[in-house]
Symmetry: C2
Subunit: 337 residues, 2 copies
DNA sequence: CGGTTACATGTAAGCGCTTACAAAAATTAA
DNA sequence: TTAATTTTTGTAAGCGCTTACATGTAACCG
């Protein structure tokens, strides 16, 4: 059942049927024919062929959600929020959403244009794009493409991006700890090669301490290999062996915090009585672990939503000027510090 | 840059270019022309237009992942596993995956064919489809459509489905509790209108007790309004007020279990020393809550993967016979019982 | 009432691909 | 060498829609 069949049955031309199907062409058909044709459309449950429409209109009405190709990704709480936001953001539009997963090995040779063509999308939002760095390098050059990045901002990025500023988060943490009169505050630092977060959070941490006149030594710091629980565990272990543990430990993300807590609990250190722990990200687990983790919430849902809205504007707008949107994090005070 | 441009530059016909682009048509072009044309393709980074291909081939090489339209859905750990499995399953194929979210209000009038046409997909897998019951009723009739359901099996379903059997799970729980010499075992039951799970698990529970000659009374049971934490909390509260708590409580899912635990902890009942708790689903949280939850794991990842594989077979096969695949759950013994 | 204008509908040329079929070229057989 | 095959390439007709343009019809005006 295609548009011609309908036209035949309704005794009108295909053009008329097409005009009736297009909500943007409200006034172009007389009420009488419209009624007649709509009856036929209803009767045969006619749904126009998307591929034909796309071919003809040069637009697929579909956007691509680009992620690295790893099942673990959906496991991450960070994604959870982002995706929820994307879903929410796409609701009022009638865009379809295609999940484009990019393998590491293919990321190198890919061009952005290719991606869009190959998957037939009008625009793309990139999640965890640091992991596809090769691909995304191009975004820097072709800033007119309808693509928006989420998070991992750093100063030289010129393309459209939605991100959450690290500084206020650390600032809030330091203010909170200062108010609690902690004087010896340490940090579990993240790996600096994965995303700018590790470095930014560390710098913001130092700045925060300084602001509250709390002493800082590099030795009140331990570097982690990755941003995961295991790394946190091992880093804590190393620190314990070399001795001189601080009163509170601020961790570069929640996973590191849990790893650290696990080690401390193993050696029977009580949290927060003996050592306090602060995380960063407010993964849902934070509320369920014991003790509940004091951490910093990034408004992932809002960010996902903003990303979609930005993208749609880019797609439909004439002037494709890159847009950069900053969000503010918020300290969530719970039990671990 | 389209196929005609390439044909022109390479001084061949479009048919030749098309044949070269199609990996299924390996032998149809002489090595010499192939080399010549491929050079041009490389040079101009030619990527064929998906919409045109789809229109011409009557296949979009895209499958739809159908879920209710609610952001909360991605929050559920059950989804996490399923989606991870779907990603994993789609890896070796080169199908695209489109996330189709169905609003409650639109689900009524929709036809499956419509859905496929409207979103340009070759087949669909349905997650949490009980929540779109109206839509899915049709699947029962049109069993030849390339669509597969995940979970929520009940006996009269004739379409393709991948599901996890509830009986062995409860059986394992009862065997375990019997071995621990519990004699007074209760259950927090789920709402029976949402999915057959509530009823099945309850029946399996009774059967399990019987098998191990453990006494059962309906009063060792409390019904919950929904399958969530709050309902578990309130149900436990009611039970506590009416008194006569059992030694262990088997919960119809993990959320109820956490709700129950939260209430018990609030009134300072020690778990598992005073009352044991068993859940069902093995949501990731189970490992992080305190105490860790003894529960039953459904192999969600494997199920997601199986669903995709089944679907692809349905799409490409000639005979579209419905396939039903059953998975077995597994008891995860942890701290809460 | 003829001429102008506004509105409604139809005609047909694409959109960029695939593929059946035809034609040409290369290979083999006789 | 020519005919019969096989292999390679080209031609052109779709796939199902949109839309610029042409045509037809109705309404309006002096």
């Amino acid at each position: 059942m295609n548009i011609r069949d309908i036209a035949l049955k309704a005794k009108v031309s295909v053009a008329t049927v097409s005009r009736i199907m297009d909500p943007g062409k409200k006034g172009l058909v007389s009420p009488k024919t419209r009624a007649k044709v709509e009856k036929v459309i209803q009767k045969y449950h006619f749904v126009p062929n998307r591929s034909a429409q796309a071919l003809s209109k040069h637009s697929t009405h579909t956007i691509g959600m680009v992620t690295p190709f790893s099942p673990e990704i959906v496991r991450s709480p960070y994604f959870e929020g982002l995706i929820a936001g994307i879903i929410e953001g796409i609701k009022p539009l009638s865009y379809d959403i295609k999940w484009i997963m990019v393998r590491d090995d293919e990321a190198g040779g890919l061009k952005l244009n290719d991606l869009m063509q190959r998957h037939a999308v009008d625009g793309m939002v990139f999640l965890a794009w640091r992991l596809m760095a090769e691909l995304v390098k191009e975004i820097e050059k072709r800033t007119h493409l309808p693509a928006v990045l989420i998070n991992d901002y750093d100063a030289h990025i010129r393309s459209s991006i939605v991100y959450c500023d690290n500084k206020p988060g650390m600032k809030q943490i330091c203010a909170f700890l200062a108010a609690k009169n902690y004087s010896k505050i340490g940090m579990l630092r993240g790996p600096e090669n994965v995303s700018p977060d590790a470095h930014e959070r560390y710098e913001a941490f130092k700045a925060g301490l300084k602001q509250h006149k709390i002493g800082f030594h590099e030795k009140y710091t331990e570097k982690c290999e990755r941003f995961d629980e295991q790394s946190g565990f091992h880093a804590m272990e190393r620190w314990y062996e070399r001795g001189d543990l601080p009163q509170v430990i601020v961790c570069a993300n929640d996973d590191l915090a849990w790893g650290a807590m696990r080690f401390l609990q193993k050696i029977k250190v009580r949290i927060p009585e003996q050592i306090g722990i602060v995380g960063y990200d407010d993964a849902p687990r934070s509320e369920w672990t014991h003790p509940q983790l004091t951490t910093v919430r990034q408004p992932t849902e809002e960010m996902g939503k903003a990303a979609i809205e930005t993208l749609i504007k880019l797609i439909s707008g004439k002037d494709r000027k890159p847009v950069q949107i900053k969000f503010e994090p918020q300290l969530m005070i719970r039990e671990s510090a």
